[in-house]
Amino acid sequence: MRFDFTEDQHEIKRTAKDLLASRSTLEKVREAAEAGEYDAALWKELGELGWPGVAIDEAHGGGGLGYVELAGLLEESGYALLNGPFLATALCAAAISEAGSDGQKDEWLGRLASGEATGAFGLVGQVVPDGASADVVVVADRESGEARLLTGQGSLEGLDSIDPTRRYGIVEGGLPDGEPMPGDVAAAIDLGCVLTSAELVGVCGRALDMTVEYVKDRKQFGRPVGSFQAVQHRCAQMLLSTEGARASTYFAAWAADADRDRLPEAASLAKSAASKAGIEVTASAIQAHGGIGFTWEADVHWFYKRAQLDAAFLGSSAEHNRRLTALVSP
């Protein structure tokens, strides 16, 4: 057993972190959020590097790696709050891989893998990350197990959410008109949970790092506020929540690649842990930053807002907890 990335997987993750640290700084995230636009040049570069297609099979123009590698990249994109439709496109590609017909796969997977097309994925009645701007959208219904593939930008209504770092759309009413999808819709949703959890783990990791750095530096009463036990214990709790979400998410990513029987449980474990951690850790980050953390000027609020949207997406912690109980007690 090796409950850790291999050297190659670590290398992919490290390279991603370095790239985003220089290309997707928080200044850029802020500019893009305030302008309401993504960094198109960065997206092109990520497409050339093969990020959106890392888990798509080689026959469809992907990298042929797995969901573990994709989760590693998504953790880093969450850490950087990457301003581009990476999560949404990866979710859409995963959904088409699982639930799409051969024709749908042939038509879309290669273009999504290269970044030439962008995608989105979501559930009926819910908010969909990058749903309004994507070239192809998959909308699924967990109840009926059906899904539709919608093509053409603007197939979903846009929505101004509290998170301006990302464009959102909304699916109102029931299943929209579109191409039916014949494959495994439940697996597509579970994969979506795993991948969103990976982003949340990155969001938590960054909120924690920013907080630790801040409380070491900020002085009150003549000493760093990070030397006060009340602040220390808050930070320790942030670490426990983050590491718990991380371990559950890595397990789920592994199950997505290697043990599909355990994917439904693993996906709910991960999404429950990561949603709860995302909300708590980013809220704690604001509190530990004090008054400055409540200002638009400081960057912590972007993480709090992303965590709120991600936590609600594809089922909250509470919904996944109930699903887990139903799974062990049918």
Binding site: F5, V68, V212, K216, S227, L240, N321, R322, T325
Partner: protein, 378 residues
């Protein structure tokens, strides 16, 4: 990332399962502490005869040279089989490895085998009334008299002391040295009149722990472990072993408890209540997260040679979850669960000790903040 066991690990697990099938531990007697201890002693003898008493010990001392992962598997399987902890758990987990690390050849020869066979039971004399979380504050003192040390003082929270032949004792041998430096680590014979054991009745009504009153007890100089003045470092070796492997046992126990609660909630229909279903699901998440963290912690030690943050987090998460789970059980099962003699009532009360014993949650948070996150001390 590979979360499957290796062939050797599976072979190890299957051999253990085969042995467990042929040697079921049976039901631990409830309500009679002496009988329960005797039962656990028999269980350890049976483990010893099968060669399973201390898989993590080196082969030359009767162990199996088990890897960290095999050791984890051992404790998981024991937990799943609902096996009791061996009577001499403190000897096997704490005293043995500490003696192996610091002992002379004579000490290893003298002490290790009877630990393994449960012939000699061990207890741990670290905490004192004025030295709980702050171990370096111990006051129990020892003065030299010829070839012996003469020990006077008081220890507390000493589990199994009434059954013990030996005690791992931290004492102050140099009152003038700085706090940590004046300590030594003794292997004290409990069978002498100068050592009085008084049971400490806890909130469950049981007495797992004791107070030790030591009035001029004698410890021959051959029974100093490490050198005079090395007590702090020897004690750290003991404490580092405290959470090894055992966490997996506790995790599987927690999972069995959760399964029992789900069964209870199904039986009384409360599982239909979405609030109850949600709360049970949260316990499921915490329990499985604990297992993932524990395995991840082991992998990281195996890959990098040193522990990541997970080790400090598992005891904290386990103890809190055990408290939350037993509280939820009371809410799911209603006031009947609070009846004297009920398993849930006992587990609820016992769980209050979990966030105190073996390092309070407050101390664990301090350790995480300072040593893992690098936050400044005042």
């Amino acid at each position: 990332m590979d979360l499957t066991f290796s062939d050797q690990e599976i072979e190890f697990r299957d051999e253990l399962r085969g042995w467990l099938d042929a040697n079921r531990p049976g039901e631990e007697p409830r309500g009679d502490q002496d009988a329960a201890f005797e039962f656990r002693k028999q269980w350890q003898r049976s483990l010893f005869e099968g060669g399973w008493a201390a898989v993590h010990w080196p082969q030359e001392y009767g162990g199996r040279d088990a890897s960290l992962m095999q050791s984890a598997i051992f404790f998981e399987e024991m937990g799943k089989a609902d096996a009791p902890l061996p009577a001499n758990a403190l000897g096997l987990i704490l005293a043995g490895p500490t003696i192996m690390a610091w002992g002379t050849e004579e000490q290893k020869e003298r002490f290790l085998l009877p630990i393994l066979s449960a012939e000699e039971i061990w207890c741990q004399g670290f905490s004192e009334p004025e030295a709980g979380s702050d171990l370096a504050a111990v006051k129990t003192k020892a003065v030299r008299d010829g070839d012996d040390w003469v020990v006077t003082g008081q220890k507390v929270w000493t589990s199994a002391a009434q059954y013990s032949k030996w005690c791992m004792l931290v004492v102050r041998t140099d009152p003038d040295a700085a706090k940590h430096k004046g300590l030594s680590y003794f292997l004290m014979d409990m069978e002498q009149d100068a050592v009085q054991v008084r049971p400490l009745v806890q909130i469950t009504g049981e007495a797992e722990f004791n107070e030790l009153f030591i009035e001029e007890a004698r410890v021959p100089k051959e029974n100093v472990l490490g050198g005079e003045g090395d007590g702090w470092n020897v004690a750290l070796t003991t404490l580092m072993n405290e959470r090894s492997g055992l966490g997996f046992f506790l995790q599987t126990r927690l999972r069995l408890l959760l399964d029992r609660l789900v069964e209870d909630a199904k039986a009384n229909g409360r599982i239909e209540d979405p609030v109850v279903a949600e709360a049970l699901g949260e316990m499921h998440v915490r329990t499985e997260t604990l297992r993932f963290l524990a395995y991840r912690g082991l992998s990281i030690i195996e890959q990098h040679g040193q522990p990541g943050p997970e080790g400090s987090l598992t005891k904290w998460l386990w103890s809190e979850t055990n408290q939350m789970l037993t509280q939820l059980a009371v809410s799911v099962c209603g006031p009947a669960a609070l009846t004297e003699g009920e398993a849930w009532a006992h587990d609820l009360l016992r769980s209050r000790g979990n966030t105190i014993e073996g390092g309070t949650t407050e101390i664990l948070k301090n350790i995480v903040a300072e040593r893992v996150l690098g936050l400044p001390r005042k």
